[in-house]
Symmetry: C2
Subunit: 355 residues, 2 copies
């Protein structure tokens, strides 16, 4: 055995308001980092306001947040004298909140956070797929190079993650499906990662059990409160996993679909998942299918049914995306990695090719 | 769902010397806290000396360490200008090292560590049962009141735990058996705790699977290197579990056997385990037996065979220990708790009663 495990974030599962005493210890004035409307619509913003009274709200985080947004958010937090950061939302606001907590403390380079500090940081996921609330990653978009940058540092593990499933109940079905399949992709990639360990596998297996037990709900689009509670927990486990293992070829190929074709991040991974994992050694993937009590054929039928009609992709796009994917660090993080030709095949098999 | 999970210790599994770069970041001069000889005999002391050159060694931690030993250790660390603490050994040196790291930083009351600081702390377990390397507990003996005090604080989570199984290979078979059964007791009590959560249950189930797969080795007393590696990992998982759940009636009744009859801590729990758990609701214990693929009858036969000849207990001792056990906080931490009469029965059934 040779591995490490580190996940210093305190995870609180239950109602946010019930944890108010603990959360109040963080500071006096939080800056809430969120998207345009979801934190308000789901009720989280009202609950945070009730706990603290005086709050600042930076609700300008777009999907796939840019470096500029993060810098603007840090400036906003400083102007409002915020003494800690609360991120609310899916992966985009949570990833942005992490770097805002750093930049609001000091204006430093993104490249080296080894001696950096940050404001206290509390994250509240409102989708069922990010896992960002327990990872050390912040994935931002560099608008200049039109590419994603993946910042990884122990400093970015939040202090606290609160899983309050009631904030997920109003998710559009499409978002629930995309984010649940994103979480599934995280844990499957985690089990197929070079860095998989007995601990990450334990978390991954549990998440796979939970998510696969909710496939029917995801297909039907009827997701109960209990489903949300379980899927939010599974999504959190998926964060534990990728905090240790990172992601592999699915995510590596997914990025271009998001940055170039604007396909939702979770959906991009879901589209690619089946064709990528069938290429891994079967002794490894068989373990995963065994946990789900499904064959590969059954699994891909289910995933493709949840996905529905697939996006189109041109041959030119395939060429362009393949070049980009081959440069992604995580493409070689799996126990198997695709060649350039195989990446072309993956895109062609996973979307609808048009000329 | 309503629970929390917090385990901020970084766990490194593999060879201590391979992690030397990381460990060197801790400071210049460690004070090694250990028992009289085991840290030397197992080779850990030589490896630490090789990494740091200049080390101070406080090798005066006795089984069931006293408050006086801990204070002496802190004084020794200060006199030697140690800038961090390395605990090496079973539960006793590790628990002592935690409080030495606190007292070497400042001389404060044991009752309130909420604003305390401590020296950086690295723990290296050399038995397969403590789990202390990832818990927030330090259990010390108050020699004045002749009782155990259980100090619990987030401050006591070590910074790093290193699991290097080669340090366990030379364990006497009796110690291997006692500590493995202690770890098993931790995870079974964890699953039967009021504070059990989906995460602690996941860790507990994995540890139960591992330990029960090594029952044959423990019965035969032939424990291979791979067995040690697996059992050390299971012991670590057991620490994750009790860090969240605490222990229950087994440990609550076990303390008196150790403090009053000098029965090894792990063995004390092993002696009591079977008779305590058969009293819990069967719907809960059935889950545990299912993980082991054993019936209660088979399980108790195995545990009793590993234990071997049982210690004697007098009726007077039973009375005395029962009173003590009923005062232990953790006696009511289970989803079931024994009455005073039931505690008497547990002692009588678990040891050999003599008049």
């Amino acid at each position: 055995m040779n591995f490490s495990f580190y996940m210093p974030t305190k995870v609180l599962v239950g109602s946010l308001t019930e944890f108010s005493d603990l959360i109040k210890g963080f500071g006096v004035k939080p800056c809430v980092v969120c998207g345009k409307s979801s934190a308000k619509l789901c009720g989280a913003l009202a609950d945070i306001k009730e706990i603290f009274g005086d709050i600042a709200v930076f609700n300008k985080i777009e999907p796939n947040p840019t470096i500029t947004s993060v810098k603007d958010g840090a400036e906003f937090a400083k102007e409002n004298n915020a003494d800690f950061i609360i991120g609310v939302g899916g992966g985009s606001p949570l990833d942005a909140a992490k770097m805002i907590a750093v930049l609001a403390e000091e204006d430093i380079s993104f490249d080296d956070l080894s001696n950096a500090k940050r404001l206290p940081l509390l994250l509240i996921p409102t989708t069922i797929g990010t896992g960002s609330e327990v990872t050390k990653y912040s994935i931002l978009t560099d608008e200049k190079s039109h590419s994603k940058i993946n910042i990884a540092s122990d400093l970015l593990f939040p202090d606290i993650a609160v899983l309050d499933a009631k904030y997920c109940r109003g998710l559009p079905v499409s978002v629930a499906r995309n984010t649940a399949l994103d979480a599934l992709s995280h844990v499957i990639e985690g089990m197929l990662s070079k860095k998989a360990s007995p601990i990450s596998d334990m978390f991954a297996a549990e998440a796979i059990r939970i998510i696969s037990s909710k496939f029917s709900s995801l297909i039907e689009g009827k997701i109960t409160d209990t489903d949300y509670e379980n899927l939010l927990f599974a999504s959190n486990l998926s964060g534990f996993v990728i905090a240790q293992t990172g992601t592999c070829a699915v995510h590596a190929c997914g990025y271009a679909l998001t940055s170039e074709k604007n396909i939702d991040h979770g959906r991009a991974n879901a589209l690619l998942l089946c064709d990528v994992i069938r290429r891994f050694p079967h002794e490894n993937t068989d373990k995963i299918f065994k946990i789900m009590h499904l064959s590969y054929i059954e699994f891909s039928l289910i995933v493709n049914t949840i996905i529905g009609e697939k996006e189109q992709i041109t041959k030119e796009e395939i060429e362009n995306f393949t070049k980009k994917s081959m440069l992604a660090k995580n493409i070689s993080n799996g126990i198997w990695a695709p060649t350039e030709d195989e990446v072309r095949e993956i895109y062609a098999n996973s979307l609808e090719v048009v000329s």
